[in-house]
Every structure is written in structure tokens, then in C-alpha cells.
């Protein structure tokens, strides 16, 4: 009996412990980092690190701009760690304590939430750039060859067309996607009933899914659901560049997308964050944004890329609707917004 006890004890005790120690040792020897790029694209001599919390689709842009920043004198040795998810979700996360030094959301209300929570200065948009270093327009993404012959907003209401667009309760993309047809059909907000009627028909009869972010809407569309995806032009360009069998159409009337960037004032790396923020407005950064599929705000850079970024017949902006402070509560308030109500009726 004692022999058996010793046997058991010795056998099960030392071997697994030894393996564990070996693994732990090997792992401790390798250093980790934030870069997930293959082939050593990691930054050397990192002496500071800031966290960028962004909405779900700007990754192709930031991946281009951050290396340009690191190559510049202001950005030497400053590592930028990025997080991408649905805009409102990220915004609420930061309010609740998600670590962030600089934020880039899809729509202004998600920044306003942080201002109210004391995390962003109320003057974030008072400088020359108005807090918006890049933007895009709302486009319609269809299967390659446009088999259903989609040309504009009215085609979305055809009986055989299924539309994919994210849920406005969590996604910033969703708000832009619905503002575009709303503005078009309500003549810039003047005939709000006409606009709401169109949205109602669209959501009730043609929208079957509710992906929680712009990026998830794209995934679901690429995987085979739906006929039309309403999305940012930059997202459409990104997936086309990935080789997916899609193309995008610019409707005659569409909406100007402006994505804000703001520094979190409670950040321990305020100088670094400000440097990064200011860098976005330099020509080098603006060129990188334009190359990544976004519409630059710098007029000179925008001019260089004007062939790539056609101007629609009518481009509505949020100012036409009275600015976010008017439009957001009216249309997207969690309980009383007219578009939110449509969504809740339609999708439960």
C-alpha cells in the first residue's frame, strides 16, 4: 500500500509541473506587443504608448496613418494601440472606464457623451479642423455586376431587394446610413414626414438583420446575406481592395459623413495624444487617409484625389438637418427618436 501511494504521488506530481515550468519559461522568454502584423512590422524603441478607441471600420485608414506618424519627428517611438468596435458601444465603454487616450467615433453624439461624462473637453471641436480629420459619403454596396440593377434609394424599396444596414442603437454607421435616405426623401429635413415614411417602409419591409456595427454588417453581407449593403464609401473601397466580389454605387443624393477625433482629457499621456491628434491634419496624414479610401478634409489633398472620389449630384450634410444637437434627439433618441421607434417596432 505505501508503495502504491508513493507511486501515485510521485507520478502525478512532478511530470505535469515540469512541463508547465518549461512552457512558462519559454513563453516568458518571448516578448509580446500590440502589433499583429506579420514579419516584424512592430515598432522598435517604444518609449510611450497611447490607446486609440475607434469605431468599427477605420482600421484600413489607421493602419496606414500610424506608421506615417511613427516615421515623423512628432511620432517617434510612440506606439498607438488600437481598438475597433461599434461606435456607441465603444463610447459607452470609455464612459465606464475602458482605457483610452484618444477616441475616434463614427458620429458626433458619441463624442458628446464623453463631454457630458467629463472625459473630453467641450472645446474639442473648436480648433481649425473642427475635430474632423477625415470623412466619407454614404454608398450602396452591391454584388459584383450589380445583378439587381440598383441605382438609387428608390430601388431599395423594390419587392425583391433585401437591405443590410446595422442597428442604430449600437452603430454609428447605422445613423449615417439612415440619414442619407431621410435627407434625400425629406428634402433636407423640410418634409420630415416624407423622410420618415421612406425609412419606415425600408426598415419594415427590406431590412431583416440587425448587425451591431458597420464592420459586422459588411461581414454578414460578404458572407452572402442581402442584396444591398448601405455603408461608408471607405468601407466599400476596403472590401473591394480585399478582392471580395462587390462593387459600390454612389446614389445621386447622398450624405456627407464626418468622423470626429478627440483627445481624452483624463488621459495620462496628454501631450502624446495631442501630438497624434494634431498630426491628422498635416498633409502627410491627409494623403495617407486619402490613399486608404477616406475623403480628406484638407482641400489641397482632396484636390489631388478628386478622380477617385466623385462628387454626387446633391450632398446633404448634418448641418442641413440642424446639426447633431437637433437631429440626434429628434431621430435617434433611445426612447423618442422617430427612426429609433421605427427600428424598435420593426425588429422588436
Amino acid at each position: 500500500m505505501p508503495q502504491r501511494l508513493n507511486d501515485i504521488r510521485s507520478a502525478w506530481r512532478w511530470r505535469p509541473v515540469a512541463t508547465l515550468a518549461l512552457v512558462a519559461g519559454l513563453v516568458a522568454a518571448c516578448e509580446g506587443g500590440a502589433s499583429d502584423v506579420v514579419g516584424g512590422g512592430a515598432l522598435t524603441n517604444v518609449n510611450a504608448k497611447i490607446t486609440l478607441v475607434a469605431y468599427s471600420v477605420p482600421e484600413p485608414g489607421w493602419s496606414k496613418v500610424i506608421p506615417v506618424f511613427n516615421a515623423s519627428p512628432e511620432g517617434k517611438g510612440l506606439q498607438v494601440v488600437t481598438s475597433y468596435a461599434a461606435s456607441a458601444d465603444q463610447s459607452r465603454g470609455v464612459v465606464e472606464g475602458k482605457p483610452a487616450d484618444i477616441v475616434n467615433f463614427s458620429v458626433e453624439p458619441d463624442i458628446t457623451r464623453l463631454v457630458k461624462a467629463g472625459k473630453v473637453s467641450p472645446d474639442w471641436d473648436k480648433d481649425g479642423g473642427r475635430g474632423i480629420p477625415f470623412g466619407s459619403v454614404v454608398t450602396l454596396v452591391v454584388r459584383k455586376g450589380n445583378p439587381k440593377n440598383i441605382k438609387g434609394w428608390d430601388d431599395l424599396l423594390r419587392p425583391d431587394v433585401e437591405v443590410v444596414t446595422p442597428s442604430p442603437l449600437s452603430s454609428g454607421s447605422a445613423k449615417w446610413n439612415l440619414l442619407a435616405p431621410y435627407a434625400a426623401k425629406s428634402n433636407g429635413g423640410r418634409d420630415s414626414r416624407g423622410g420618415i415614411e421612406f425609412i419606415s417602409k425600408l426598415v419594415h419591409e427590406h431590412v431583416k438583420l440587425r448587425p451591431s456595427s458597420g464592420r459586422l454588417a459588411t461581414s454578414v453581407f460578404v458572407e452572402g446575406s442581402g442584396d444591398v449593403l448601405i455603408s461608408y464609401e471607405n468601407e466599400a473601397i476596403a472590401i473591394e481592395r480585399q478582392g471580395k466580389p462587390v462593387e459600390h454605387i454612389l446614389p445621386e443624393q447622398t450624405f456627407k459623413i464626418e468622423n470626429p477625433v478627440a483627445v481624452v482629457t483624463t488621459s495620462p499621456h496628454l501631450d502624446a495624444a495631442n501630438a497624434f491628434n494634431n498630426f491628422q491634419y498635416t498633409a502627410a496624414a491627409q494623403t495617407a487617409w486619402a490613399q486608404a479610401g477616406f475623403r480628406a478634409v484638407d482641400p489641397a489633398v482632396a484636390n489631388n484625389f478628386r478622380d477617385q472620389y466623385p462628387v454626387p449630384v446633391k450632398l446633404w450634410t448634418i448641418d442641413d438637418l440642424g446639426g447633431w444637437s437637433t437631429a440626434d434627439p429628434q431621430l435617434f433618441d433611445k426612447n423618442t427618436g422617430s427612426i429609433t421607434k421605427i427600428y424598435q417596432e420593426a425588429t422588436g
Binding site: 442603437l169 431583416k208 438583420l209 440587425r210 452572402g224 422588436g348
Partner: protein, 300 residues
Amino acid sequence: MTRSFVGRTSGPEAIRPELAQPGSELQPPPTVRTISRPGSTQLRFGVTMLWLSLIVLLPLTAIAWQAVDGGWQAFWLAISSHAALEAFRVTLTASVVVTVFNMVFGLLTAWVLVRDDFPGKALLDVFIDLPFALPTIVTSLVMLALYGKNSPVGLHLQHTPPGVMVALAFVTLPLVVRAVQPVLLEIDRDVEEAAASLGASGPKVLTSIVLPSLLPAVLSGAGLSFSRCVAEFGSVVTIGGQVPGKTEVSSQWIRALIENDDRTGAAAISIVLLSISFTVLILLRVLGGRTARREEKAAA
């Protein structure tokens, strides 16, 4: 998530699986003071209760608290909303179908693993546990690779209920098998042989002697399988596509509610989901325990 399945060659567990099953009503021997000092039992009890409270009870209480935060009106509204009901329907349908499927194929698999013999059987036996060890997100990607848009076998199940069911069948594959195997190993073959020598045909022996004694184990495995299906999230994420009314399961709807900043609704749905899976789990265990005891009495 598996019962210990090494066959017990002796002891009361051989014919009374419920002794080994938590939730059974059998009592242990009276308190023994061998490994305890006087009073250390209370200490042990206190520490254990503290641990379980902190880790399990406190978080679940927080959910219950949040669920009734808006009053019973808000609770009812949240669990009877169109999307919630659809999600429950999708979840329960898929779970029932997959559980029944598992009961049949799990039983067959356990049978083959115990009573049959062929080269590679031992390897197969080890492999059965793979779904336990695999992270659910990996399962989801694997399912998508096989049954998604680029399926090499031409089966396109992405964003359809069968796609969700296939993923669920994968993760719950071992549950019934591992519940039935040890019991099958322990079955007293004398009874079968006696019945056969008395002239009972093969199928008759099967249905009147073997299957009834396996029933408690099958039910126990089915209970685990159902609970797991109802609670599953990671493995249906990519292949399901979260299509409301078709493939959106309750755990996904709960997450959507959190992302939409509706905490009360999320908590309410969570309570309902918890109640369903916990009730079924306990019910089938008790049922299994009772059936086992009845079997014993009949055999005695």
C-alpha cells in the same frame, strides 16, 4: 464539462450512478472528525460558502436585481418583446432537435465504443472529447469553413437554422456518449445472457433489459446537452449570422441588448434563460436518479 467516466469496477457506483451524480439525494456517512479539528468544519463551511457566494451567487444576484430594476412591468415587456420571443423560439427549437439527435447518436456511439471492436477504436475514443477541449470561437470558424460560403462539400448552411444546429451538435457531441459509456461498461451482462438463454431474442433483450438500464444515463446526458445548447454563444457566432427569427439565439440577443444599453432587458432575458436550462438540468437528473432507483428495486 464531463462527468468522470473512468469505469468503476467496484463499489456502489457500479449500479447506482446517482451516487456519483451531484444533486442526488443520497446522504454521505455521518460527519467524520478524522481530517478535521473540532470547529474546523465550521471554518471550512464558512470559507466554502464565502467562495461560492463571491464567485457564483453574487454575480447571479446582481442579475436578478437588475432584472427587476424597472419593476415587473419592465421585466415582462423585456421578456415578451418580439425579438426576445423569437430568440427563445430559435434557441429552444435548435436545442430540442440537437438534443434528440444527440440522444440517438450518442447512444449508438457509446454502444459501438463499448461493445464493438475494430482497429482505431481506442483512438476514436480519445478523439470524441475534442469538442470539449476546443474553444467555441474556433468551433465557429471551423463550422464556417466547412459549411459556409466557400464550403468544399457544397453545403451552404451559413445564416440558416441547420447551420446553427450543426454547430450545436458539434459542441454537445461528447455529452451523451460520455454519460452512457460508463454505465454500459458496468452493465451486468449475466442478466442479458440469462434472458437470452431463456429464449428472448436479441432485440427483445435490448429493449426490455439493456435500454431501460441505460435510460437514466441517456437522460442525464440529454439534460447536459440541452443546457449547453441553450447557453451556447461562441460556436454559433459566425456561422449563425444572428438573423432575427431564424438564427439569433437568446445569448446573442442578450449581448445585443447590452450593446444597445438596455441592461434591464438583458438581465431579464438572462434570468429566463437561466431558469430554463437549470430546471431542465435538475429535472432530468432527478428523473434519471429515480429511474435508476426503480431499476435497482426491480433487479433486487
